[in-house]
Structures are given as structure tokens and as C-alpha cells.
Amino acid sequence: MKKRLSLVVSSIIMAGALSACSGAEETSSTASSAGESDFPKKPISIIVAYDAGGGTDTTARTLQPFLEEELGETVTIVNQPGGSGWVGWNAIAAAKPDGYTIGFLNSPNLASGLVNPTMEKQVDLGSFEMIGNHVVDPGAVAIRVDDKRFSNFKELVEYAKDHEVTTTATGVAGDDHLVTLKLNEALGTKFKAIQFDGTAKSRAAFLGGHVDVLVTSVGEAYPMHLEKQLKVAAVTAEERSSFLPDVPTVEEEGFEPVISQSTRGLVAPKGVDEETMEVLETAFEKAVTNAEHEKKMEEIGTQVGYYNAEDYRALLEQDVKDIEGLKELLGW
């Protein structure tokens, strides 16, 4: 009996140790120096700075097989959560620049960390070589279907110019919070953001009538909009979302355009040589714009938004600039 028991226990340990080792190998797989056009010669690791099962992880794993097809090599997802994403992002920047370790950046979370005065920065946008943007999720401003004070975005803005209206946010200078701040700045409204630890809690407070307006992303809001649990009054994007064809943009409602969205893109550490970057960029573009991939992404309620390396860098730089402009409102 004892023997069998120790066998079970040791096999449990073995299993644990194996899984841990494989994690370690993935991040430190830095054998031969690449550079020739025969890249890639071995598996590529993609660092995701959030937990397995989270939004970024899910979309990364959806892209994975398409990327593998283009690159002709195994692609593994390595989750390095912690530090609100910074553990993973720092790890991407610090990886050996041979193209075999790349990863996803999430903005505006990254940008707000770069602007936050209490953050001791180890990296900046110059620490990365951009490969391209993968996902765009515009902000969505939603009201309750039975709200008597306003029933569309115009009425909401008119009301909020004279009254304090509470909105939800999920993190200071996070994507939801920025929507509120940008609206206040552009339209002169008196929205007041209340911070919640995650969308689940902010949604409960909104549905229960404790907070007036739910600010979230299109990806989070559209299923509830279709269910008529809430009404998305406007999206903070340049054009309407295909998930919410009946919802206008802020500009379409007759206001100054307000653009606020969260993005996820793939990057490599600085110093990867040009040829390798080209292989990665081409493969990424083909994988992302693959019709089958777009269909899969739509099924999980995520909007693909391909930007090439140059445009993606410009997008991140704009994010940083936007938040710097809001420093006063943020109290930073």
C-alpha cells in the first residue's frame, strides 16, 4: 500500500515538474543565432502577459494555428501574468532578440503604465520591434433600457452637461476610464468614473441601478445589447462596429469625434534583424487577414483589426500622447 502511494505522489510531482520545465524551456529557448532567411528553424514562443483563459490568451490561442501554418513551425503560448501585464511585457523586451520569443502588448494599459508617474519604468515603446496589430475593441457607452432621464446618446450628453452622471471604469487610465475622460474633455460633460475590479462587478453595479452608465468595450457589451439587457448608446470609434450595426459613433450623433479603443498587437524585442522581422510581419499579416481566422474571431465576439508594423507603432504612440494630455484629469 505504501509503495503504491509513494508511486502516486511521485508521479504527481513528476507531472508538475514536467509542466514547469516545459514552461522554462519555452522562455529560454535560445540555441542557434538566427538571421538567415531560413527563419524559423525551431518553435517560437509567444508571451501573453495575462492568465490562461483571459481575453488576450483566448485571442492569442485562436491566432496560434494560423500563425503556425504561415511560419511552418510550432508556436507556443506562454502565459506570464502578474504586475498588471508588466511582468510579461518586461519579459518580451528582455528576451533574446532572435525572433524566437515574441509577445502581445495590450494598449492603452501599456500606454497608461508608461505615463503613470508612480511607475518605475524598465521599458518604453523603443524597447520593442512591432510586428502588427491583431485586435481592436472600441469603447461602448451603454445606458439602462428603462432609464427615464435619457434614451439615446444625445440626450445622455445633454443631461450630463448639467448633472453629474456616474460611469463605470475598470482601472485608472484603463480603456474604460479613458472613454469617460475623453468624453468629458471633448464634450464638456460631467461624467464621474467609479472604479471597479473587473467588468463583472461593474456590470452588476450598473444593472442594479447603482451606477448610471456602463462604459465597457464593444466585445463585452454587444451580447447584452442584443439581449436588450442594456442599450449601447454610442461607440467611441471612427466607424460603426460590425457587432453593433445599429449603434452610432459619437461623431454620427453630432459631436466632436471621440476615439477610444483597446488594442492587442504582436511585438518582438528590439534588435531582431530585419530579415527575421520581415518573415514575422508577413506571416502575421497573412494569418490575421485569413478569412477563416476572421470568422473564428467573430465567433468569439472579437473584432480583428490588422495594422502593419508602422501603423501599429503610430497607434501606440498616439495612446501615450492621449493619456499624457489627460494627466490633469487623472491627477497625475
Binding site: A17, G53, N79, G82, T118, G171, D197, H210, I300
Partner: protein
């Protein structure tokens, strides 16, 4: 009557042999995931989602939810046997579960947990099927002031757990609050106490704290004991509660079921709350509260039951509002969406077969867990009789691997060692560690809900007292404090005399 009919149809689907097999696979994997520290239920579920892509949606969800509640039971096993709570809800179980194991009653503790979990789970499922959809409105009336009051009430209960010395208890609560301060401030976004380290930006991970304060420190104490005077591992003494324990345990299970179910309906409450409140309730209702913390069976039966019926009740906000109550449920929600099942008020209408099949499968899954675990409890309990010098290195190795796997980094392992040493020092100083872990979780929620309340009502703190639900909870908190002061004064003499242990 229509619901009964729908439930029967659900059973028909869930009882197909494929679905029974998927359910069995789910709960078995869940058990293993729960036993391995570090790889928590949410990561375990997430990693298996890709496996279900090709499966029929109903079977997929049956298997994934099996992993979910199977892992809750697995977590109990490590908590009782080696005092390593893998998740927050298990901390409360460790208070009496581990002392029971030390007395050779690990089998009884695991057995009563299995029975309690079964009863709690099944009753909650029946509740979900019959009455819960009508209670959603009530649950949503819980706003930030109500959360704050509920958490504060929980905190006063934590001080009550502290044991003999109120001062030591308060000290432990304060340490927990300080640990909860690490990370990003909820309203200003300021990063507190990160010392320039990316790993500290988000504060500490609960698993690191729990495994260090509980598991590792216990091993250090055990080693010291071994050096002084080698102790024989306890003999396993049977599986069933003694005759006089049956009635109190049954009562605890009943109370835990009701409490957990109603708390489960409120969206977004941490699973710590039901276990904690159930434990305090049991301690207050017991004829001899001094047994608690030394291996009282009600201290295991109540919280374990509450935990499981909480999970059952939490299905309602999940199904109807798409609001998950825990990280694992959030992963499950993701799996729903992946399989084209969008939660919402009309889910029960649009996908009636799905909802009722999953509910029926949980009934079956709980039964499977009961049948698996009653015989297995005997087997697991034998682990407690492995000689310490063999057991300790194994626990340390598993803990280190588990902490490493949190974010694939050695940083968390370092944290584990530091919290292990801290736990050792605290236990030597007779300062209880459970309040630290509980307050660590509650503290964050309390700060958040307080700031939300102040933000919503223009800094008017009185709002918490004037709203009916929060006002009642605040009154209960004050009452709890007064009662414990009176009890403290009464027991002062007795406690002064009792200086051992």
C-alpha cells in the same frame, strides 16, 4: 411543474453514456487539478477548453463544469491533509480540518466534507431550478455600500476567529491589511510598495501567501519538533463521525446550505465570504466554542457545505446576467460563449435543453464525487500517516513547483519562502495566520467598495448606515463586536489560567 418536466428532459440528456463519461472525466481531472497546488481551478479549466472545441456544446460544458466543482473538492484534500489551502475558500477549512488530520481523523474530515459538499451542491441546484430566477432582482440590489457592509461584517467575524488573544488577532488582521495594500490603488492608480519591481505592481498572489503562511511554516515547525522529539504520525481512526457528532454535523450542513445558496445569488462576492460566515455561525451556535480550531467537525462541515452551495447559487447570476462570481466561473463563461451559448435573461428559453442538461449533470457530478470520495477518503487519509521525513520534502517540492507555475517565474518561489518564514515566526509568537490570509482578500474588496460608495454619494459615508440592507449589516457588525467584547471579559479569567498549547 413545467420546470420539473424540463429538469427531467435535462436528465435525459445528461444521462446519455457519453455525457456521463465526460462528467466523470471532468470531475476526475478537477480533483487532480485541485490537489496540485498552484495550478488553480481557473487555469486548469482554461487549459482544457481547447480540448472541447470539437465537442458537442452540452458535453463540453458538462465536462468543464465538472472540472470546476471537482477541483473545489480536490482543494479540500490538500487543505485537510497537509494544511496547504490551494484557494481562498479552503483557508477556513484549514482551521479545523488540519487539526482533525493531526488527531488521526483526516478520514472523518474528508468524509464529512464529501457529504456536506454533496448536500450543499444538490440542494443549491434544486434551488436554482425552482426559485432562484425570481431572486435576481434582490441580488442586484447589492450595491457598493452593501458590499462594504457585508465585508466589514466578515472582518468582524475574522477577529472572532483569532483565538485566545484579541490583541494578537487584531495584529494578524493588520498584517493582512498591509499585505492587501500592495499593488495599484483602486482610485488614483498609484502603484503602492512596488519598489520598482514589476512583480509587485499588482501586489501579492494569494496562492503564494497561503502556501507560505500555512504550508511551509507548518513544515518548518514540524521539522523543529522532529529535531527535539520525533513524533509518530497519527494513526488513522476510521472514516465516520462518532455518534454524538452526527447531529451537530447534520445541523451545520443544513445551515451551510442555506447560507451559501443565498450568498451565491449576489453577483461578485468572493467565495471566502460564505465559508467564513458559516464558520463563525457554527462557532457561535456551538455549545462549546472552545473546541473550534482544535478539530471541531462542525468547523469543517459548515464551511465546506456553504462553499459548494454558494457555487450552485452563483450559477444564477452566471446564467442570467453573465456575471461570474470567481475567476474559474469567468473561464466557464468564456467557454459558454465559445460554444455559442450567450448568457442572458433568455438563456433559459433559447437554450433550455442546454441549461437543464448542465444543471442535471451537476447533480450527477456531485453524486460521482461522493461515490469517488467516500472510499478514496480512506486512501487520502493514509497520506497523513507517511513519516514526516518523507512527507515534508514532497510537500516542499510540490509547493515550489506550484508557486513557480503561477507565472512561470522564480519570483513567486521567493515570495513563498519569505511568507513561509514569516508564518513560522508568527506561529511561534502565537499569532494566528488564517486572519492574515482572509483579510488579505477581504481588505482589497473593502477598500474598493468603500471608495466606490464615497464616489457614488459625494463622500457621504452615512449612506452606508441609512440604506436598509447595508444598515442592517452594519448593525450586525457592531453587535458582533460588542458580543465578543463581553465574551472576552467573561472568559478573561479562564484564559489567563490556560496558557498551554
Amino acid at each position: 411543474m413545467e420546470t420539473i418536466q424540463l429538469l427531467m428532459t435535462g436528465f435525459e440528456i445528461a444521462l446519455s453514456w457519453q455525457n456521463i463519461l465526460y462528467c466523470l472525466a471532468g470531475v476526475s481531472v478537477g480533483m487532480i487539478v485541485g490537489i496540485l497546488p498552484g495550478l488553480g481551478p481557473s487555469a486548469g479549466t482554461a487549459l482544457l477548453i481547447p480540448l472541447t472545441f470539437a465537442m458537442d456544446p452540452i458535453s463540453a460544458i458538462i465536462m468543464l463544469s465538472g472540472i470546476f466543482y471537482g477541483s473545489m473538492y480536490g482543494g479540500t484534500i490538500t487543505t485537510v491533509l497537509v494544511n496547504v489551502p490551494g484557494e481562498a475558500a479552503s483557508v477556513v477549512t484549514s482551521l479545523d480540518g488540519y487539526p482533525m488530520a493531526k488527531k488521526g481523523r483526516a478520514g472523518v474530515a474528508l468524509g464529512i466534507s464529501a457529504i456536506g459538499s454533496f448536500v450543499g451542491g444538490v440542494v443549491a441546484i434544486i434551488g436554482v431550478a425552482l426559485v432562484a430566477p425570481h431572486l435576481v432582482k434582490f441580488a442586484l440590489s447589492f450595491g457598493p455600500p452593501e458590499y462594504f457592509a457585508l465585508i466589514l461584517f466578515g472582518m468582524t467575524m475574522v477577529v472572532g476567529l483569532a483565538g485566545k488573544s484579541i490583541i494578537r488577532g487584531v495584529l494578524a488582521v493588520l498584517i493582512g491589511l498591509v499585505l492587501a495594500m500592495f499593488g495599484i490603488a483602486p482610485s488614483s492608480g498609484d502603484i503602492r510598495f512596488s519598489f520598482g519591481q514589476a512583480f509587485l505592481i499588482d501586489g501579492f498572489d494569494f496562492v503564494t501567501i497561503a502556501m507560505g503562511l500555512f504550508g511551509l511554516s507548518e513544515i518548518l515547525l514540524g521539522l523543529e519538533q522532529q529535531m527535539k522529539k520525533p513524533e509518530k504520525p497519527p494513526k488513522v481512526k476510521g472514516l465516520f463521525p462518532s455518534r454524538q457528532e452526527i447531529r451537530p454535523s447534520a445541523m451545520s450542513i443544513g445551515r451551510g446550505t442555506v447560507l451559501g445558496f443565498f450568498l451565491g445569488l449576489i453577483p461578485g462576492i468572493s467565495s471566502v465570504v460564505p465559508s467564513l460566515l458559516s464558520y463563525s455561525m457554527e462557532k457561535r451556535l456551538a455549545k462549546d466554542p472552545s473546541r473550534f480550531g482544535k478539530g471541531a467537525i462542525e468547523g469543517v462541515a459548515g464551511p465546506e457545505t456553504a462553499n459548494n452551495s454558494f457555487t450552485g447559487g452563483a450559477l444564477i447570476p452566471l446564467f442570467l446576467l453573465g456575471i461570474p462570481s470567481s475567476a474559474t466561473m469567468a473561464v466557464l463563461l468564456g467557454a459558454f460563449v465559445l460554444h455559442g451559448l450567450q448568457p442572458g435573461p433568455t438563456l433559459f428559453v433559447r437554450h433550455a435543453d442546454f441549461v437543464w442538461a448542465v444543471i442535471a449533470s451537476m447533480f450527477i457530478g456531485n453524486l460521482l464525487l461522493l461515490f469517488m470520495n467516500l472510499p478514496l477518503a480512506k486512501f487520502w487519509a493514509k497520506i497523513a500517516s507517511i513519516p514526516f521525513n518523507m512527507l515534508f520534502p514532497i510537500i516542499i517540492a510540490v509547493s515550489i513547483v506550484g508557486t513557480y507555475s503561477i507565472s512561470n517565474s522564480l519570483w513567486d518561489v521567493g515570495g513563498l519562502l519569505i511568507f513561509g518564514l514569516l508564518g513560522y515566526v508568527l506561529k511561534k509568537a502565537d499569532i494566528p495566520v488564517a486572519p492574515i490570509a482572509l483579510v488579505f482578500i477581504l481588505g482589497k474588496m473593502m477598500e474598493e467598495s468603500l471608495l466606490q460608495t464615497l464616489g457614488l454619494y459625494n463622500g457621504n459615508f452615512m449612506e452606508i448606515f441609512t440604506r436598509p440592507i447595508s444598515g442592517t449589516l452594519m448593525a450586525l457588525s457592531v453587535l458582533a463586536i460588542i458580543l465578543s467584547i463581553i465574551a472576552g471579559m467573561k472568559n478573561k479569567k479562564a484564559l489567563l489560567g490556560d496558557s498551554e498549547v
